[in-house]
């Protein structure tokens, strides 16, 4: 450092000292949840405006005789979350939402069984959001990590199969502490917010996006699709909807939120593991399929499982989220109680009413074979 560098440094210190010490701070108000909600509510207003002015998700229940349960189809925001940034979307897990680039698809993270029946061609090639949601059946085989796991990143599989991705997990299941680890061009960011833990594995090209994803994490009670982060469906073994109604009287809907929960999470704790939204034609096609499904539920194969165990996952099909909604409970992964339950009657699972439920991060990763074959005809 030269003499003039010293002079410059002294000048900078003196300038900052004069300005900083001469600045008189105003009183700093302590934000509250209420002030945060008020701030968010502008986002909700903006969202509602866009929905009305643009391609409206016409959310409103209309009875089959033409009468409206929720009035005219005026359009409602399904959530009070602010609109995501341009080119980004929300993903939710438990009580937290994060924003991810719209260009990221969905896929499955590499597991310890990454080598089973995979020549690498089916592995994601572009950045993705993991769909295992902390729950995945993994064959009991260890294919190995990079020799010696010299990265120390704890990521399964060889580096040639690594693709930038975001995955979700439960903090109580993870031994990896929060933090940022970088080595040889790969960075793993682990962050816990609320009841959710996020892990982003990223290459250098997507590092800025990765940090933006983690920084966007926000605790919420209602996710972007109108799903409560905790649901009465988590209560015990195959509960029925709290507010019964007659599904056959609903003539059309504006949207349906597919909210998937872990019933093994105690009621009151966030059990939401994934969600997606059906709108317009898709939502009404699902409603139409339910209207023609037989009453009585099923298919069940009662002799093949314990009846006292809750299912691994279950779905709340929320008709008309964000307004005067109705909840249908959907059970599909056990040998009993399968079907769509509106609290009044139980409708059977069919290929037409069940297959449409799956997509994005809403996946079925275990289940009895009879309902699975109906719900996943492409995999049977």
């Amino acid at each position: 450092m030269t003499e003039n560098d010293d002079r410059a440094e002294r000048a900078l210190r003196e300038a900052l000292s004069r300005q900083g010490d001469g600045f008189v701070p105003a009183e700093t108000a302590v934000p509250t949840e209420r002030s945060t909600r008020r701030w968010r509510s502008w986002g909700a207003v903006a969202a509602a405006f866009v929905l009305v002015a643009g391609t409206a998700i016409g959310i409103g229940l209309v009875t089959r005789d033409g009468g409206g349960l929720a009035g005219p189809d005026t359009g409602h925001a399904v959530s009070e979350l602010p609109l995501p940034d341009a080119g980004w979307r929300y993903e939710s897990y438990r009580d937290v939402v994060v924003q991810v680039p719209d260009s990221w698809g969905y896929g499955h993270e590499l597991t310890s069984a990454w080598c089973l029946g995979d020549d690498g061609t089916s592995v994601n090639q572009t950045p993705f959001v993991g769909a295992s949601n902390g729950y995945e059946v993994v064959p009991a085989i260890a294919c190995g990590r990079r020799p010696g796991d010299v990265f120390g990143l704890g990521i399964e599989g060889p580096e040639r199969l690594w693709v930038t991705n975001l995955s979700f997990g439960r903090p109580e299941d993870e031994e990896v502490p929060d933090g940022v680890h970088t080595q040889d061009g790969w960075t793993r960011i682990v962050s816990t917010v609320g009841h959710a833990r996020f892990t982003v594995l990223t290459d250098q090209a997507h590092l800025a996006d990765a940090r933006r994803i983690v920084d966007s994490a926000t605790v919420t009670a209602l996710d972007q699709n109108g799903c409560d982060v905790s649901s009465p469906i988590q209560d015990g073994v195959y509960p029925r909807p709290v507010h019964a109604f007659d599904l056959s009287t609903i003539g059309s809907v504006g949207a349906m939120a597919i909210c998937q929960y872990s019933p093994r999470t105690p009621v009151g704790e966030p059990g939401l593991i994934a969600s997606r939204l059906l709108t317009g034609t898709d939502a009404n096609a699902e409603l139409g399929a339910l209207h023609v499904a037989k009453i009585g539920g099923g298919p069940d194969t009662p002799s093949t499982c314990l009846h006292s165990e809750p299912p691994d996952t279950a779905i709340v099909l929320r008709l008309n989220p964000g307004a005067e909604s109705r909840d249908v409970y959907v059970y599909y992964d056990s040998c009993v109680h399968n079907g769509f339950d509106d609290g009044t009657q139980v409708f059977e699972l069919t290929e037409d009413d069940c297959a449409r439920l799956w997509g994005e991060r809403v996946v079925q990763w275990s289940g009895s074979s009879a309902p699975f074959e109906l719900c996943h005809p492409d995999q049977s």
Binding site: A11, L16, S17, F23, V30
Partner: protein
């Protein structure tokens, strides 16, 4: 390449959000003022950053990263404001004797402040954190979400720019 682990800026501090804001509010506003150069914007920048921190407070407090998070939010917001306003056309100075011709001779610190308010917010923030807060480059890198070498570069470029200006005047 060695493993890089983020260093918490402040491992200790009040666990209650309100207590933390009360104890850190003035310092954060001072930081916001020095980074933005605007006494008017400083309280708003801090308030926006605190609103962003509230929903994740428990996690930030547990990890001891609240200070870094809020300061980074202030810098990011300052960068956004700077980007949105820097294209504003400034009015030409009136013709006549310059202020320098009339005012007493400015000292090095005055020159330094003039330079600082011309710097982009990220670079200015690095200088503030280094020479006002006396943080290490590793700590600056955490707050600015950049590499340590980038933090060094920000500060070094500011020193070089000021040195060149000062060399035009005798010490």
């Amino acid at each position: 390449m060695p493993e890089v682990t983020r260093v918490p800026i402040e491992a200790d501090g009040p666990a209650d959000f309100g207590d933390w804001v009360s104890s850190r509010g003035a310092s954060l506003q001072r930081f916001a003022y020095l980074v933005s150069g605007s006494a008017t914007d400083a309280p708003d920048l801090v308030q926006e950053a605190l609103i962003g921190a509230l929903p994740r407070w428990h996690s930030l407090a547990a990890r001891g990263t609240a200070e870094a998070y809020v300061r980074r939010s202030i810098v990011n917001a300052s960068v956004s404001r700077w980007r949105s306003t820097r294209r504003l056309v400034t009015m030409a100075d009136p013709v006549g004797p310059s202020v320098d011709d009339l005012a007493p001779r400015v000292d090095d610190a005055d020159q330094a402040w003039r330079l600082l308010i011309e710097l982009p917010p990220n670079q200015r923030a690095a200088v503030v954190l280094r020479f006002y807060e006396d943080l290490s480059f590793a700590q600056i890198a955490v707050i600015l979400d950049c590499s340590e070498s980038t933090a060094r570069s920000h500060v070094h470029r500011a020193i070089t720019a000021l040195r060149n200006r000062l060399e035009e005047e005798p010490s």
